[in-house]
Subunit: 375 residues, 4 copies
């Protein structure tokens, strides 16, 4: 058994949400060991978090952290970046240029310019860049992708994807809401950046299709908010498929409603993140079938990421952990010079660029009254 | 007890679908008696249908039918028009001008020009014009409308409506498919006309809002088909609400997926035609509630159209029959000079004009590459 | 086209529930014409109901009605009995002995002695006796039965059936509740008689199996109530299958929860009355399939009772009407000396005897502290 | 931050299922560190597992392990026992008597005699005994229990609990099936022991009620199997509530169908393990409400065990981990002499005794043809 991968973390201190998720995800399958962190730029807060988390080396400056960890014999081999969006690029740069793998939360960056710079930095680095589009780690999403790839649906015609929440239906005063509605930290997209990018990625991930052009109608319903909290988008995919994307953070009664429906010439697939162990499959002209994680007739793409038998639900954290486990497989193989599991793969720079491009296109289109714009 | 309303029918002979639905709907609550029919323009077929249906007076020419029924002492007081779309206007004209109430299937007409002529004819007639946007007859839709009207949701922000089917995923050779995909008979809209008009109407009916402008991306996926079989539409409502509408007849696994979701400042409502006895209501910040037809906490708008206790599902035919029963209440009141039940109301010319206008706007927008067009 | 069957009705006047259901069911497919009624034993009330219902001949005495209708040239050919249970036998007797077909609500009678007398009367009559175990009229129940019969499930092992409601969770003061909780009118069973008989019948209807012995634990939770309002029953079927039956009228949150699950050596079926257009089918070792009324892969047993396309839900009234339509097919064939549709069949005396026997066995077992008793 | 609890494990080597689950559960919230294991009685297999799992100290003899770990300064403080049932008692004994906390899989033991001995051993030990009735760790189960305790349902009347699977519908040849169908290893109960005990525990956990007597009909459907694979049980609870319990491993189409429904004088609760983040609550006479983990209106009992926001599903492993985390809270408090979180609690010996007693009562009753027997 190979040693655990030594992991650092930037961001994710007290009061953060996604940092804790990354830590559980990294721990779930025991491939990582958290050895260092810059959990806050405030040294005292950083130190307090490190202690709580039993992390040996605490930093308040991510540049210093990158420098020092790179020099240590047993320094971090990879770093998880869980800061607000605008810091992804400056933080990633420091680690990438020192050969430390980066596991970064989405969206890639807060601006398209930063995204392009990050893409270059990643390209010229010997280290890997992994973007946690965690929903693509759900086993039934892997199953869906494999089925599309195998041609079970025939040529794809229609994509319906949506991501609806309600937590920003009114003005919210907390750390999570604050940076997500601040253009300086979040970028030009509000709901489009925070959740629309997930929806956009998931649709592309499952179908293998890329958006060619889109027309968007972004809106801010809550007074005083600087970024969109609801977006309606029509999409045209390369090859002729058509799509619709709705993302909203003001849809009362929706907790985390990421839903994907894909229809092809010969069949359809339907999936809902809140019941992630199920995938509905209809071969055209036959009864609808309920495919379940680890259930009858499930292929290897899903099976390899399953920890429990059918009917023992795996959830959001397990899906997130699958990204970390595939990352671990790739990182370990790179470290050992071995060949990773054939099914292992992770979202990366290209996905991140497409995501930031999606937000940018939405904003451009919306400013031009919903005109079609290229991505 | 007032006498049953004497009803005639044009269309709906052998092999038709919607004619039989209208007949059951008219019969359900025993307010109508079918006394005459022009079930086909082929005299023999018409006669055969009349005999099968035990209808006394059979015609093959609707003009003759209108003339003769108008002259008879006990002639038809109302006529159900269940022909392909292009005949709605010429048939309706004959009956309206003779003072016979018209109960007409949707969409109103196959062209906007016809729709306007029909609107004028209806206005100048002493008879009523009723359009069977049957989905607005579902009790839980009435409940939803009443709740929006009562302000339970606050100001409406977002409308998500869709109507998905899969029966035209391939080329289909039957009577139903033939006229629905023929522009001469159906009009300029395919899925937009056949089912999009229902979705558009339902959203407007529940919210009380009118579409101000829309942007549409219509597409025909099946080779050789003349009309759209999938449509993506973004909408802007008067007063600032935003909407999306998807209609498709090529979405494998969707039987009759009419779904409406409405979100306001203070709450949300969600409804699915395939489970029509349920309505999901979320007051913002409280648990989601499952409202059921005839169940706890249901208001009079739904209760007055309920025939069975909660848990004894009423379906499509009952919803359709509610339109007929409200029509009967209005017709009977008109006949008797009495006041109908306060809750009785029916879709009419204005709804029909809006529906044909919706199709027209979709086609116009789509031809202009999805530009926003006014309705 | 054969003439409509002339129907009479006993019971079902003002304030009744099931009478109105029978009338809609009889009217749905236009095979019956309501020509006479003894809607109440109070002449004035009876007359008022007859007038409201536009029924020509009104009686307040069912004996007189039976005599007179039998003598009339165009008298009732069939009578619907929709009285409280204790009157089923005396009313049915009068009509059966005069050769008038009886369509009777369930349970058959309020006592086993009456049931046996009725069985003899039916046997010696030239007329048919039809018991409205309406839930067996649902198309997907027909489909389920056909699948079991075809061997799709292999040998049946386990039957889980339940019927849960909550409307009697407290003392209720209305006409419906009054007679149902009165042993004089309802018989020895409360929930067992009112809804348990439906559950018992449905399980037997679908599986083709008969209960050999049962052990029951009946209970009355509401103070002052004379009959059971909750029953737990274990069953052993002929041939070795095992079953459980739960019926309750005190289960908060259950409106009309009739649910059936059947498991065999090779597969399982699951059905819920509140979503009656769906049937879940799992061939052992394959994904679960959602079969839908009029949907893909549905056999003739369901298709012949379908009025609308898939996705256009049919409900409780349509299921009830299917019993009436099959009854009409049989009555008409008897009248004409012709052969009815091969699929037409109705619940009858044997089902009724089994139902009353079920209640009797439940009461006997419960009195003996849940000992196993034969049926 | 207190040090992680040093954990050992007995059982759970190659090819085991529940051992891996315990390890993930222990790791999830980072309260434990796996330091020693007797993963197999075969030394080589044990060693191989230890290496794969990066566990420092490997044993093939649990007695030796108990002795040595007890002596080590940094030996295991707690041990997870994940062997087949018949080994629970002999293994637990060794650790309990040396003051090492035991976290043991259910059922407690394979015989009632062993269970009583274990109870005594636990009583006289200074160490804690924790039984992983993991389903009681689901947040919505904690919510349900809190609601019952708070009186939201009023006096409980009816309990419906079931646990249905289909994986033993035929003869199965694998390690999991082998010991579970072997009376020597599993005990006198098959499905009753393996899953019936979970159902029994869950119902008691949520309602706070104890079964007074039960009547059971156990059956083995698969030829050649030595233990029950389907069980029907009627229950009478102390205080007058009535219950039914069904457990089956031959119900085609059921993956892991643990479902609980509880009805009281004032309301009802319904929960399904395959959708564990949801809890249906109906206050009598009001609409049904969908309570969700971390959603609106959720109390502290659920909130304290929630890692992710509403709509981000937590699953089986998280529920299992909650038992481990509460165990950690209690163990740490014991170690530190501090007071644990007020909400922390774990299933223990009493639950285990009740579970083995349940199996014993089921077998006794079934042998006496389903007679009522006391627990």
């Amino acid at each position: 058994m190979s040693d655990r991968i030594r992991l650092g973390m930037v961001g994710g201190g007290e009061g953060a949400f996604i940092g804790a998720v990354h830590r559980i995800a990294a721990r779930m399958d025991d491939h990582f060991e958290l050895v260092a962190g810059a959990f806050s730029s405030d040294a005292e807060r950083a130190e307090r978090s490190a202690e709580t988390l039993r992390v040996a080396r605490s930093y308040s400056d991510y540049v210093e952290m990158a420098k020092r960890e790179a020099r240590l014999k047993s320094g971090a081999e990879a770093v998880a970046i869980v800061t607000p969006n605008h810091l992804h690029w400056p933080v990633a740069r420091e680690f990438l240029k020192r050969g430390i793998h980066v596991i970064c939360d989405k969206p890639l960056t807060s601006t398209l310019a930063d995204a392009r710079k990050l893409a270059k930095a990643a390209e010229s680095s010997g280290a890997m860049f992994i973007l946690t589009h965690n929903y693509s780690g759900y086993p039934m999403i892997r199953q869906a992708r494999a089925m599309v790839e195998a041609g079970d649906l025939g040529k794809i015609r229609v994509v319906q994807v949506e991501y609806s929440q309600d937590w920003l239906s009114r003005t919210v005063d907390n750390k999570q809401a604050a940076w997500r509605t601040d253009p300086e930290k979040s970028g030009a997209g509000g709901s489009t950046g925070d959740i629309g990018t997930h929806a956009h990625h998931l649709a592309g991930y499952v179908t293998g299709l890329q958006v060619e052009e889109l027309a968007a109608d972004l809106h801010t319903f809550v007074d005083g908010r600087a970024l969109d909290d609801n977006a309606h988008v029509m999409m045209r995919y390369q090859g002729g498929a058509k799509g619709m994307l709705w993302c909203s953070q003001v849809a009362a009664g929706n907790e985390n409603g990421l839903r994907l429906r894909v229809y092809g010439e010969n069949g359809g697939l339907e999936w809902d993140q809140e019941n992630p162990n199920q995938l509905w499959y209809t071969p055209l002209g036959e009864p609808k079938r309920l495919l379940t994680r680890a259930g009858a007739g499930i292929g290897d793409a899903a099976a390899r990421l399953s920890r429990t038998p059918a009917g023992h639900p795996e959830g959001y954290l397990e899906g997130f952990a699958n990204i970390y486990s595939d990352a671990a497989a790739l990182i370990t193989a790179a470290r050992d010079g071995s060949t990773p599991d054939a099914g292992a793969h992770v979202p990366g720079i290209a996905d991140g660029l497409a995501g930031v491009g999606f937000v940018d296109a939405c904003v451009r289109s919306s400013k031009r009254n919903g005109a079609w714009v290229s991505m």
